[in-house]
Every structure is written in C-alpha cells, then in structure tokens.
Amino acid sequence: MSFKAFGLGFHHLGLAVRKPDSATDFLYRLGYRIGKVVLDVEQNVNLVRCAHSVMPSIELVYPTDTSGPVSELLERAGESVYHTCYETSDVKASVDAIETAGHRVVCVRTAKPAILFGGREVSFYYVGGFGLIELLSSERGPMSGGTDVA
C-alpha cells in the first residue's frame, strides 16, 4: 500500500443502508465479494465488508434491532456514503499532520478495537468541510482472527 499525505492510505467507504439485501445484491453483481455479517456491539451496528479487485472497498453499515448511531443518519440522509476510512501506522501523527495543514479536526470516537478488522483499533474524526473519517490502525490489536471477506 502506498501512503500519501498525512500518512493515510485509503481503506474503504462506509455506506449506511437500512437493510443489507439490496446493497449486497447490487455490489455482488458488480463483482464484489461479500463478507459475513458482523455485529459490532460497541457501535451497535451490523457491518459487512465488500471487496473488489479494482473498485473501492465498501463497508455496509446497517442498524441492529435497537436504535444506534446509524439510525439517526438514515433518518436524516437515507442510504448514503457517510465516512471514508484510511489506514495509518500512527493515528496521532496523522491527525497532527492534518491539523498542521490547517484543517479543523474533531475527535468523534476515540480508538477502540474493531471486530471487523481483527481487533485493529479504529477511531472516528470529523474534518471540517470534508466530513467523517475513520482511521484504522495498521497495528493489529490483542484480538485475533478478524472477519475477512469470503
């Protein structure tokens, strides 16, 4: 992977949907490999990784039976791409570099292990004038196994 400015490498787009069926069918027909559904208890959302040989990876995010953060988003904006995820070997250095470049960065959720990425830590930031970004640590955390795309 080639890293560019801010030490960030593109990882995936986060797509919020009400239900996964239509989205997974659409992506499958586009040639995506559809991963298993993973319940992220921490975020109270269901997640599905979708990978393609040439198209950007997509993380489908849809609500559980109880209201969570994505429910609010869906109510306001409907199905939509709502975050961009980048991989970095040093989250703090990347955030510092973005701020040094003059962008306003607000921490939305501090780093927590993500079951979808084998325990690697993810954190969320809002970049003024850009939107929500997810930063995925390159380092593997104490959890193991992960859930890769089938």
Binding site: R76, Y126, G128, L132
Partner: protein, 76 residues
Amino acid sequence: MEERLKRAIAAVLGLEEREVTNDAGPGNIKNWDSLKQMQIMLALEDEFDVRFSDDEIHQLTSYRSILLALKGRVEG
C-alpha cells in the same frame, strides 16, 4: 451576539433565524443531530473567531449553553 449566534445556527440547520428560539436544541429541532452539532460548532468558531474543545463541541447541545460558552470567551 445573540442575533449572530441564531443566524449562524439557522444557516447550518437550513432554518429561518426566527426558528432558532432561546430553547432551541436537538430535542425540538429535528435535524439538529450529531453531525449538525459539529457543523454548528465549527461554524461558530469561524463566526466568532474562537476555539472549542472536542468535549465542548459534543456537549454544548443547546442554544443557551452555546451562548453561555461564547459569552465567556468573547466577553470574558
């Protein structure tokens, strides 16, 4: 200050200025959600040339609390 504040909040939320009442907040303005909250606070940083902490950005979730914080900075 109150007028500028209401104008700035209204602009982010796509409302008329008069719709931002003294009691305004996520509880009575439907599209004042967590994303709009951040957009409001960053817009206010530009408008009033102030800087809020991350905690303030997440916690100042009403017109009144924002006004109080702004007064402490701009007039303090």
